[in-house]
Symmetry: C2
Subunit: 334 residues, 2 copies
Amino acid sequence: MRVLITGGAGFLGKRLANKLLQRGRLKDAAGRERTVEQLVLLDVVAAEGFADPRVKVVAGDICDTQLLNGIFDSGISSVFHLAAVVSGQAEADFDLGMRINLDASRQLLDVCRSSGRRPKVVFTSSVAVYGGALPDVVQDTTALNPQSSYGVQKAVGELLVKDYSRRGFIDGRVLRLPTISVRPGKPNKAASSFASGIIREPLQGEEAICPVSPETRLWLLSPRLAIESLIVGHELEAAALEGGRSINLPGVSVTVAEMVAALEKVAGPATVQRIRWQTDPMVERIVGSWPGRWDASRAEALGFSCDSDFEGIVRAYIEDDLPANQATEDRNTN
Amino acid sequence: MRVLITGGAGFLGKRLANKLLQRGRLKDAAGRERTVEQLVLLDVVAAEGFADPRVKVVAGDICDTQLLNGIFDSGISSVFHLAAVVSGQAEADFDLGMRINLDASRQLLDVCRSSGRRPKVVFTSSVAVYGGALPDVVQDTTALNPQSSYGVQKAVGELLVKDYSRRGFIDGRVLRLPTISVRPGKPNKAASSFASGIIREPLQGEEAICPVSPETRLWLLSPRLAIESLIVGHELEAAALEGGRSINLPGVSVTVAEMVAALEKVAGPATVQRIRWQTDPMVERIVGSWPGRWDASRAEALGFSCDSDFEGIVRAYIEDDLPANQATEDRNTN
């Protein structure tokens, strides 16, 4: 089978690609195990670091329908649609967010439909589709009420995936991801960027700004389990989707203060002193509108899992991602 | 002030136009009463029957951005966006539904935004945004869960109106209308067309097909009160929208059996014998997914009202719309 990953040069895209290459197999629409023959990584820049002959790197605009049609002509039967303009950026640049998060998703669904192959489409949604007056624990029946343009665009994507699936154009599955922490690399324009930054930067000996109050509650998932969840979501059989195509994934519910305490436990007090508290009203408004916890029992019953606690997430980050010298250096300081 | 009605040649559009001409005034964004200087009626066909010099009839494609921009150049500050492909047609012709109900709405919002005038936009939504397992009485907090392409397109429109309003591009108000009954004229391609047909056709001495079971429960509003509601929705002040921009309008909850009983009471047993019961699975599936009742207390508090009962709706139809000779003829037969 041939698989497309949009946002294939991004952090999750590359990691997912490596995992799929290592795994080598995925279930097709009929639930049969198939060999992954080709993995197309589409992104605005070329995904680097792939020597595997099964990987085809495509650098181009996801809004370019001709490009997409060309990719599908080779016989794509599964799509992981990860390409997105992140929350803070979609708020700062409305047109860009609409173009990538709404128009490109719509066009991708239309290309899937034109292919006549009814591809599996794993669509990543977000905590940002919720908002307003929320119960302490969001339920599957809680109304979507996004408070940011990003959240609106994701909610629209969910509705389209659902309808395209109902009509038999695609076989869609919407995974509502918790905030991913700890993301390696540099800060990005997500309103939640700090949820990685306040761990990652101090561990590398750098200062990090925390733009929200310590009481802010977040719903988090490590990159490791996010990748695993994408694959579990792809492998779900039709019966699993009868309860609805949108699935609230398990996560860890922690306050920012608890995150900092976990970091201190793992890396010592000198590390957490590198966090500077400086409120950013835009970030506080957006992140504050997201649920800090939702009921993930349906997802758990379907085989999704999450990290056991935030301390484990910090340790996994150090193991998987922290540049070796810095981890050592940091450990030496404690 | 200048006002645009999309779908201006349609049944609701023309009626709204006449009401606005008669009324002569509307509140602007600041809540000040303004004279209606011009009423632009845009539709795919020319709206007929308007001699009033304040009316400008435009026949054209609502997806034509250049046309829309031209209309807005004259200084539109209020829009009643009624143009839509109805439920049954959007289900039968997916592309047409997406083009008119989603793309055209999106483009209209963008033109409103480009105008820089932050126009008031009254967007009509529908019972069709709800579906799935519903409580007996749908609440304002009940999640949208559309089961038809029309419902999905309306739900997307709601999300966009909300975000464009939040960002200050428009001043939007979403009115979720009950099913309108009794519509005059011919049957249309709405799945709910029968909700008017089973009253209108028998009163004119013609046979009507009822494609759903007598137990089917509907949430109904007369044309008279639908028009009144559109105006109330336009006149709402900013404070009224703090509880959310989508408003579930009051209606009358009746089963089809109760509708037929009301018709019999008004027009006699010979009339209801003109109804032929013949199930249509597509109509049953779509209409059966809609709520038969919702909590409209917020709307009532904001000044919206509905008919007192279905018998009153039938009598209003006879008064307002039934061709005089037929009403007489029909009365003579009882």
